[in-house]
């Protein structure tokens, strides 16, 4: 007899998604990771729009990854028009994307995932017994947001980062203030690692994972031009189509990505796994101490990796600000460049993993064709693989199975509003 088990609506995730598992006894017949956020057609909407306002539109693909989208978008445009940026711009962008990571991870690790581990429906309920954790989360999140507002001028969907630089450079006072906040936030970040290292990782979803992450260059980070794949491959971002191989699946309505015909994973776990040697001081130490918590065969390690990244982000943020302050800040205005018929591709690491923007322009700088591939779309196939594994290994109550699946999915920190290509099947 077959049973259909479902989670109608995943909670504590960005956007709308659900799960369906069809079992025959203990045999897994079918699994679906359904995404039913409404269609937003960004790639078709932005056609004919002048490049100048493209980042303003595409950053609205997702609220929590807004800076990643805008930087991916700006980068693609700059690659198309060969824009040269100043070192100050590069540093500010680096700071910005670390800020986003802090904000996003603080929200996810502390407020969305931690309640799972401690057994609460949400952070508000959790605050009754763990006020400190919630206050830490809010303080960290606020710090991330502060970086965002200082550089981008709003918590969500800022506007100050632009093609060719920043419209207005932050003042030294503002950056110094951010630095003070970051210093104060350090213990809260480290506490996240302390908290998660104490949780025993369930093993029900252990299986092989192909991991993919950006090559951050010298230091651990979220910007770069190449992509690393577990096993040692390194590809230029321009090869992204080969890496992601998107397809529309009849059931789930983000397009699914596959690599070499198999699922792969992007996100904190791949990043830490592939570039942990480039982490900052404390984060590196903490990684070494608890490297057993970073298990490439267990996607639940993702939360711990996010906690590690929090430590890194805070430290790295301070470092970047120090460099900026010692160089002195200048209102440089935006870089000059010429618009021509062209195509540009760019990759960044959003908090949830690799994000690609690819645009083609006509000679006046208006978009003729666009393609955007988000981390959650890339992870979808891997999520389904994990569901199969969990369902296959499961013995016991169905309710527990579905709960395990939900916890696992949440560990990916899926950002469904972000998945761009999403529609629900009629």
């Amino acid at each position: 007899m077959t049973r259909r088990l479902t989670v109608d609506e995943l909670t504590r995730v960005e956007g709308h998604g659900g799960v369906e598992v069809v079992l025959d006894g203990s045999e897994v017949k079918d699994v679906k990771f359904n995404i039913f956020e409404g269609p937003r057609f960004f790639e078709s909407i932005i056609k004919t729009v002048h490049y100048e306002k493209i980042p303003d539109m595409t950053r609205r693909i997702c609220a929590i990854c807004t800076a990643s989208h805008s930087l991916a978008s700006i980068g693609a445009i700059e690659n198309a028009f060969n824009v040269e940026n100043t070192p100050q711009t590069e540093l500010l962008r680096d700071l910005l994307i670390h800020g986003e990571s802090i904000e996003s991870h603080a929200l996810h690790v502390y407020m969305l995932a931690l309640p799972d581990f401690l057994g609460y429906p949400d952070a508000f309920a959790m605050s009754a017994d763990h006020m400190d954790a919630v206050k830490n989360a809010l303080a960290l999140k606020k710090t991330g947001n502060m970086i965002h507002t200082t550089l981008s001028w709003r918590d969500v969907h800022g506007m100050n980062e632009r093609v060719g630089g920043f419209s207005k450079a932050p003042t030294e006072e503002a950056l110094t203030e951010v630095k003070t906040m970051l210093e104060k936030a350090q213990p809260a970040a480290e506490l996240a690692v302390e908290l998660f290292k104490g949780f025993e990782l369930p093993t029900y979803n252990e299986s092989d994972n192909v991991l993919m992450a950006i090559d951050p260059g010298e230091r651990f980070g979220y910007l770069g031009t190449h992509v690393l794949v577990s096993g040692g491959e390194r590809h230029p971002q321009e090869d992204y189509e080969k890496l992601t191989n998107e397809r529309v699946y009849r059931h789930s309505y983000a397009k699914h990505s596959t690599y070499d015909d198999g699922p792969f994973m992007v996100g904190a776990l791949p990043r830490i796994r592939l570039s942990h040697d480039k982490l900052t001081g404390t984060a590196l130490e903490m990684y070494r101490e608890h490297s057993d918590m970073v298990d490439p065969r267990n996607t639940l390690s993702n939360n711990f990796c996010q906690a590690l990244e929090l430590v890194h982000d805070v430290e790295r943020g301070i470092e970047v600000i120090d460099t900026l302050l010692s160089n002195g800040l200048e209102d440089e205005g935006l870089a000059a460049f010429e618009v021509h018929e062209s195509r540009g591709i760019n990759v960044v690491e959003a908090p949830r993993g690799l994000l690609y923007h690819d645009y083609s322009f006509d000679e006046s700088g208006c978009i003729t064709k666009a393609n955007i591939i988000t981390p959650t779309a890339q992870n979808a196939a891997n999520v389904e693989k994990d569901i199969r594994v969990i369902a296959g290994n499961h013995v016991g109550e169905d309710a527990e199975l579905m709960n395990n699946i939900e916890v696992m999915i949440r560990a990916y920190d899926p950002c469904i509003s972000c998945s761009v290509h999403l529609v629900r099947l009629k």
Binding site: T11, R12, F36, E37, E43, F124, D155, N160, V248
Partner: protein, 254 residues
């Protein structure tokens, strides 16, 4: 008894809910004044039954959204369209009058009509009575908080009924239209953001949607035409956050 508050979301980027979570300094105080019965992004806890204040973000873009919205309306005393998607239909409504949804599905997904549960993105008011709108992409934290306190106080929240230019002037920001001919939408967009973009030397792209009196649209349109912007450029600009800019907004000569 604490008012029962629901924070619901339809199609959008979830940024307006996030703005509630972003009220780091006030969040705990706020939740102590209200009883949250639904908050998809923030909590697994859900409760059936009536809702005193429903915040609904996102636009209606699927049959499921529509069903959900009608259910929310049914159980809610005050329904608030929360954010630009809910108030105007959002960025995803920008091309509503250009080509059908089927063509877009074909283009983005390469699938045949009828494959997906999708409809043209529309604001909530297209389908249900909306008691209050809080505009913005995303909503402003302060405005949201003010609306909540005002509702808790038993009052109707104040709305911004004047354009961004007012705040631009009060801040003494140089006008980007006058200084450099940029296509600023400030004159026709609802204030409340403290003229953030002009403050950075950027032209307002209208993320708070049109100010109540749409009479300025025609004047804005002809002003930008006069400055040499093409019709397509202006429409691409006006439509991003204004839903379908009605033809009659733009006067006869377009």
């Amino acid at each position: 008894m604490k008012p029962r508050v629901g924070i619901f979301s339809l199609t959008g980027c979830a940024g307006d809910q996030l703005q509630i979570l972003n009220m780091e300094d006030e969040l705990l105080d706020l939740v102590s004044h209200i009883h949250i019965v639904d908050f998809q992004e923030g909590s697994s806890y859900k409760e059936e039954g009536p809702v005193d204040i429903a915040f609904v973000e996102g636009s209606v873009s699927t049959e499921t959204d529509l069903k959900h919205l009608k259910e929310i309306r049914e159980r809610s005393k005050v329904l608030i369209a929360f954010g630009n998607c809910a108030v105007e239909g959002g960025i995803q409504a920008m091309r509503n009058d250009e080509g059908s949804i089927d063509e877009r599905l074909k283009e983005v997904y390469g699938v045949e009509p009828g494959f997906f549960d999708a409809r043209l993105s529309k604001p909530l008011s297209e389908y249900v009575d909306v008691d209050l709108d809080i505009p913005g992409c995303p909503v402003e934290k302060e405005e949201t908080l003010r609306a909540i306190t005002s509702l808790l106080h038993g009052d109707t929240p104040l709305r911004f009924t004047y354009p961004v230019c007012v705040e631009c002037k009060l801040n003494e920001y140089p006008c980007v239209i006058i200084e450099s001919g940029k296509p600023c939408l400030g004159p026709v967009i609802r204030a409340g953001c403290d003229a953030r973009c002009p403050g950075l030397g950027l032209d307002c792209i209208g993320c708070r949607g049109p100010v109540d009196s749409a009479s300025g649209f025609a004047a804005e349109y002809s002003m930008l035409l006069e400055k040499g912007y093409s019709k397509e450029f202006i429409l691409n600009r006006l439509r991003v956050f204004s839903g379908e800019v009605k033809e009659d907004f733009l006067g006869g000569d377009q």
